[in-house]
């Protein structure tokens, strides 16, 4: 479960303060599928960085499964990302020199899982995204949709509590995009918590819960009956 309480992220450029997050409070239960939408510059990526433990807030509190993330050290944040978060990026962000299987193994390497176990888990994850026959392919030998599925397998492999997807269909054609969204739906049905960040309302509408963000503030939350 994710609990964000009165979170601020303020960037100071010279004398000017930009409140990228302005008093955001948000609770996301386990097994929820939430879409976070908003126009460019509204603070979506900043919020994603916070949820993904890539950054720490200027003030406010953030808990994942009861653990307070907002006060964690660099090392503890790395371990949180490794164990609790699975990232799916717009640009896939696979390592180009590694094969599909090696890419999927990466989170397990940083968790210190032995090689045999890693291999087994990676094949299992690739199987779930329907790529068992592409394990030895390098990213450039795969289509965009396939690359994104490898990225999803990589996000899944460590069995994290949260799947965090930032514009996962943004770099795909509509057919591959639809495939990826189907997969999201499927994963949600299987019991994963999914947070989807998008500027596209059509994509957002596929999620049971929509949170709209504007100028760093939550302006709409479908769960809260229309307002936050």
């Amino acid at each position: 479960m994710i609990v964000i309480e009165n979170m601020y992220k303020i960037y100071k450029i010279g004398d000017i303060e930009v409140k990228a997050l302005n008093n955001v409070s948000l609770t996301i239960e386990d097994r929820e599928f939430v879409a976070i939408v908003g126009p460019s510059g509204s603070g979506k990526s900043t919020l994603m960085n916070m949820i993904g433990c890539l950054d720490v807030p200027t003030s406010g509190k953030y808990y994942i499964d009861g653990q307070e993330v907002s006060k964690m050290s660099d090392r503890a944040l790395a371990d949180m990302r490794n164990r609790k978060i699975g990232f799916i990026f717009q640009q896939f962000n696979l390592l180009p020199k590694l094969t599909a299987e090696e890419n999927v193994q990466l989170p397990m390497i940083y968790r210190g899982v032995p090689a045999g176990e890693r291999h087994r888990l990676a094949l299992e994850a690739l199987d779930r995204v329907g790529l068992s026959d592409r394990t030895h392919h390098k990213p450039k030998e795969l289509s965009g949709g396939q690359q994104q599925r490898v990225a999803i397998a990589r996000a899944l492999v460590g069995k994290p509590s949260i799947l965090l997807a930032d514009e996962p269909t943004g770099a795909l054609d509509s057919k591959s995009g639809a495939e990826v969204m189907n997969m999201m739906q499927q994963l949600h049905k299987e019991g994963h918590t999914i947070i989807l960040i998008t500027h596209d309302n059509h994509i957002a509408e596929q999620a049971p819960r929509i949170v709209r963000i504007q100028d760093g503030e939550i302006s709409y939350d479908s769960k809260g009956g229309g307002n936050a």
Binding site: N49, G52, L54, D55, D74, R75, A78, D79, R81, N82, R83, F87, F89, N93, L94, L95, K97, L106, P107, I109, Y110, R111, G112, V113, P114, A115, R154, G158
Partner: protein, 394 residues
């Protein structure tokens, strides 16, 4: 778990090096040249030191020489005084021989030849470790009885006897007839100017040939290498009390070797140090390339961090890479140095090369230290990258 991570970092570093072979080889080249020059210079210097030491110790490391200055005629030490002292110190001294050096004209038939004359006791052969090709050395009885017997060098044998066995033949030294009883083994190249142009006779017969016939030099053999220092002190005290301070110089072969060792050690450290500078330059080259590599791989670092790599993981990955480059460079340099050194020693006679374990260890560990030291800054830079900014990097 730590081993798993380490092996993984090693694998990543190797694959990163392999994917950039030419660049990595050029980076390594500095290390190769650096290590090769350190090992080569130290090896050549150690080689000549070993050569000098070998030739010195073949003369006997237990050898002591006493040189008496003849300034005051009022106080003298006669050979019999010294024999008495020698007999009192049999526990530390095993052999003693007076030595009078000079030159003389040797004549056989009508042939004349000027030669070096050494007038010594029977024990001289043992003290100096002399070996003979023919016959025997002069005996104690011959010395005692002042018999005209001579041991000659190979040059004399060649010149006067056409290389035939000259035992029993006569040779005139300054007109006095001596009987040849032995021929020394060749030590030089049997030429006129070499150490093979010499005649050795009993010191008791020196006065028949030379004007200065009182021995001022003594060759003494200590009981063992360990006894040398005690023997030197005892001898110094004896001559100080007999002749007054500093009237005799007592030197041991061991002392001479120690001085040579020290000088050569300094030389080898100096050469190694100069070559060591090239290792530092090589290290800067590695740092430069690693910094480029970190910048090029910023996005990769961002991805790894997002996935859960700790700072330490990233640090290790880059550090291992620079250490591998240094170690491989070091290893290649080492083999190169050993190859070149041995080839050079074979081709050029004056050169000697020994790659000691010390110089190999020194050069190699220095290469590793350089790799770690100059790899640390780029690796640290990589590990401290902000993942958000790194992910945004194109």
């Amino acid at each position: 778990m730590i081993i798993t991570k380490f092996l993984q970092s090693l694998k990543m570093a190797i694959s990163s090096i392999l994917s950039n072979k030419i660049r990595m080889f050029l980076t390594m080249l500095g290390m190769i040249i650096g290590v090769a020059s350190v090992v080569l210079l130290i090896g050549l210097s150690d080689g000549s030191q070993k050569e000098i030491n070998d030739s010195l110790s073949s003369m006997g490391t237990d050898l002591i020489t006493v040189q008496i200055r003849n300034r005051s005629a009022s106080r003298v030490v006669s050979p019999s005084d010294i024999m008495e002292f020698y007999n009192d110190n049999r526990d530390i001294l095993v052999n003693i021989s007076p030595y009078i050096g000079g030159s003389t004209t040797a004549k056989v038939g009508t042939t004349n030849e000027s030669t070096t004359l050494e007038c010594v006791d029977a024990s001289f052969a043992d003290i100096r470790g002399l070996d003979l090709d023919y016959g025997r050395f002069i005996t104690e009885d011959e010395v005692k009885n002042r018999q005209n017997v001579a041991v000659v060098g190979t040059y004399i044998q060649q010149e006067f006897f056409d290389g035939q066995n000259p035992i029993g033949q006569q040779i005139k030294l300054n007109g006095i007839v001596y009987e040849i009883v032995g021929v020394l083994e060749e030590t030089g190249d049997s030429t006129k100017t070499s150490a093979d142009n010499k005649v050795i006779i009993p010191y008791t017969t020196a006065r028949k040939i030379l004007s200065a016939s009182t021995p001022s030099t003594y060759y003494i053999q200590a009981a063992s290498d360990e006894a040398v220092d005690v023997a030197v002190n005892t001898l110094k005290n004896y001559f100080n009390s007999m002749l007054g301070k500093n009237q005799a110089t007592v030197t041991s072969q061991k002392q001479i070797m120690e001085v040579i060792d020290e000088v050569m050690g300094m030389l080898s450290a100096l050469l190694g140090g100069i070559a060591g500078i090239s290792l530092v330059v090589a290290g800067i080259g590695i740092m430069n390339i690693m910094l480029v590599s970190v910048t090029e791989r910023t996005r990769e670092i961002g991805i790894r961090k997002a996935i859960g790599a700790r700072r330490g993981d990233i640090l290790l990955q880059f550090l291992i890479e620079s250490v591998i480059i240094s170690c491989m460079g070091g290893l290649i340099g080492l083999l190169l140095a050993i190859g070149i050194g041995n080839a050079a020693a074979k081709l050029v006679e004056a050169l000697n090369f020994v790659a000691t374990q010390a110089s190999i260890t020194l050069a190699f560990s220095f290469a590793v230290i350089v790799g770690v030291f100059f790899g640390l800054y780029p690796a640290q830079k990589a590990s401290k990258l902000n993942p958000i900014e790194a992910l945004r990097f194109e």
